[in-house]
């Protein structure tokens, strides 16, 4: 192409950062996500009140200077609960997604690389088996054996995430394996593992990023569902999902009890989605105009 060789030789890979700084959706998403992560970290060292401290005379107060987000039916400070709840919700969702990616992605890539083999069949049928049990059921099983806790909720949601990623990755990778550039890599003597990491994974990254943001929001909701039936974080440890669940009988009396954790979930998910969207564009050389 007759495009002049823009002064690129000196700044090849660093331009990725430049592209990131110029993508508004990435910046907005990263800012929101960073805020919530910060909130979770801050909660370890500081909360305005003890998150479990009850103050019955001041129950169900609205938003005020003393209690920024008001108080709940036991007079606990909602702002403090949100801070600590961020910890639980984000940690559960993040680790659960991490488990899903860490195990599901390699499984999917392996199945695609050995497509049609016995190994492929075994991996995918085991995935079907896990998929056949709802996360809730797995959680009940695990809780029955190990007792209820946030850790067990993470394991249950994580296990549920594995087949989601394995299937997605396998399907996306399969269509890539038929492409000519993969054939070219095979002609260059590269083995399936190397091709999977060097060529397949970067090309399905956008699909993966989108799925991560979806699974993350599902993770927060799943944690809420587990907490709701008493299988997640145990009281008095708050989580956004549990706060949401607890508030539903009081929704006409004190709507802020439902609105605030609900909005927190919405904004976290929104932030992650925006960041995921931005990341997808940044990683795709065809879309990042800044580097042409």
């Amino acid at each position: 192409m007759s495009l002049p060789a823009i002064a690129s030789p000196t700044l090849p890979r660093g331009t990725l950062l430049n592209a990131a700084l110029r993508s508004p959706s990435f910046l907005a998403g990263a800012a929101i996500t960073a805020l919530f992560l910060l909130v979770a970290v801050v909660s370890f060292v500081w909360t305005p009140y003890g998150y479990a401290t009850q103050d019955i005379p001041n129950k169900l107060k609205g938003l005020s200077l003393a209690h920024w987000f008001g108080t709940d039916q036991y007079g606990r400070d909602v702002f403090s609960m949100i801070l600590v709840g961020a910890r639980t919700s984000i940690a559960v969702a993040l680790i659960a997604v991490g488990v899903g990616i860490g195990i599901g992605v390699p499984l999917g890539l392996t199945a695609a690389a050995r497509r049609g083999s016995l190994l492929d069949e075994v991996i995918m049928r085991l995935n079907d088996l896990v998929f056949a049990f709802p996360a809730l059921l797995i959680a009940v099983l695990i809780t029955a054996v190990f007792g209820p806790s946030a850790t067990n909720a993470i394991i249950a949601i994580g296990i549920f995430n594995i087949p989601v990623f394995a299937r997605l990755i396998r399907a996306a990778a399969l269509s890539l394996w038929t492409r000519d550039f993969i054939l070219a890599a095979r002609v260059a003597g590269k083995g399936p593992a190397r091709i999977s990491v060097e060529h397949i994974l970067p090309n399905i990254l956008n699909t993966l990023v989108v799925q991560i943001t979806i699974q993350f929001s599902l993770g927060i909701l799943a944690e809420a569902a587990l907490a709701y039936v008493g299988l997640g974080a145990q009281p008095p440890t708050p989580s956004w999902g549990k706060m949401l669940a607890d508030s539903q009988t009081l929704i006409s009396l004190a709507p802020h009890l439902a609105l605030i954790p609900g909005l927190c979930i919405v904004f976290t998910v929104l932030g992650l989605n925006l960041m995921g969207d931005g990341l997808r564009d940044i990683f795709d050389p065809r879309l990042s105009r800044s580097r042409q």
Binding site: A5, S8, L183, P202
Partner: protein
Amino acid sequence: MSLLEVKGLQLAIGDVKILRGIDLAVDAGQVLGIIGESGSGKSMSALSIMRLLPTGAHATGSIRLAGDELLQKSERDMCGVRGKDIGMVFQEPMTALDPLKTIGNQVAETIWVHGQASRREALAEADRVLERVGLPADLFPRDRFPHELSGGQRQRVVIASAIALRPKLLIADEPTTALDVTTQARIIELLNRLVNEDGMGMIFITHDLAVVAGLADQVAVMRYGEVFEAGPTGEVFRTLAHPYTRALFEASSHVPKRDPSLPGGPPVLTVENVVRDYRTPPKRLFGKPGAFRAVDGVSFRIERGENVGLVGESGSGKSTLARAVMALEAVQSGTITIDGQKLDPRDGASFATRRKLQVVFQDPYGSFDPRQRVDTLITEPFHLLGADAPHGAERQARIAKSLETVGLEASDAEKYIHEFSGGQRQRLAIARALIIEPSLIILDEAVSALDVSIRAQILDLLAELSDRLGLSYLFISHDLSVVRSITDRVLVMKSGKIVESGATEEVFRNPQHPYTQELLAATPHLERALAARS
């Protein structure tokens, strides 16, 4: 007055001008051939006539079909025109047909959608139309699905639904490009017959001058969204008044210059009695799996600096053979020797053997990882050198050298693949093959997806490289004229066997095997077509 009159048609998508005021005219019973390279606006002209434009497109000017202005019609009225007054045939018959509908239903749909008949009558009419396009009911039951037919038969179904209501105008957009030559010849014959029988007008869009020369009454040569030249076919081709038409004409019959002294010396590739079977699924539960012999006892050799063509239609086993040579597929018996080193049928090739062999694929868009930069892409074969792979400055030098060898610039190494055109990508593919200094390059339909002028340039480049570097090519193609221009020897493959081989000129001038004769007769030939006109 002409059947179709297009006057001053302009088309813009957003701010980009696609068509800059084109004039076309088609008479009833006549064929208008539109020729042009990719991006010339020929398909967009056809879609404008059908009013099937992408969102954001805006057309101005005038399109009159039998005096009726189409551009002023509402979308609802256009639905009544499409399929009824204007039929359309697309390039890829597999995607133009609904895979879940039987061929009878597919054709009948066009008929009853226009309220011309009840479903039962429509099915009966569909039956007659399919008969007309050469698919008699006793051989092709109407409850067949598209995947049960061959490419040519599918295209006949597409044609049947396009002509079912006897439209006044038929638009065929590259209808034979995806088909084999013998099939192409039969489809063109069919279209020609239908035009004569029904007296409809036809617009035939193609990039292949030879096809147009044999078929069209009028031609229009398009470029940059304009009609550069138009007129009766014989006249346009004989006078070649416009320089662009002449350039196209020359490019399509281009023969690169080659050094005749070269081939000779020890064989680079020896293939002996190679057999490749595929297992087919058993017909019954617990039945025995069947076998399909894709390559059946093939033997040949390629000498240093020799260019060997491998021709055959789809399904003849030529691609399977190429994959076996590349050690991407195991063979059941026989031996393949590359530069004196035998391929292991089980493990494939050692790195040392693979170094001798590289490949260039057909699709310039699919053969590069879109996520990597050119320097990473073209150095991929360095993997074969293991620890000996060049690093740092030497690597840069090798990249620069191989880019310059194929006529690109060293600075292109910093770019991503989407910044290159189709022809440049094919140059990059050649650069990737050359970087490891192989003795043999397999060119699998390497120029088939390119426009004629680009194709001529790539052929020149290939010929020059072969002479200068003593490279051998295995040139796989279904395009006989290209094979003729660049190869020393040719192998003709049919049903997994090599049915004829010999010096290229010899085989083309005096084909012995009936299949070769059939192939040659079916190949559109520019000069022959023009001679037949006068």
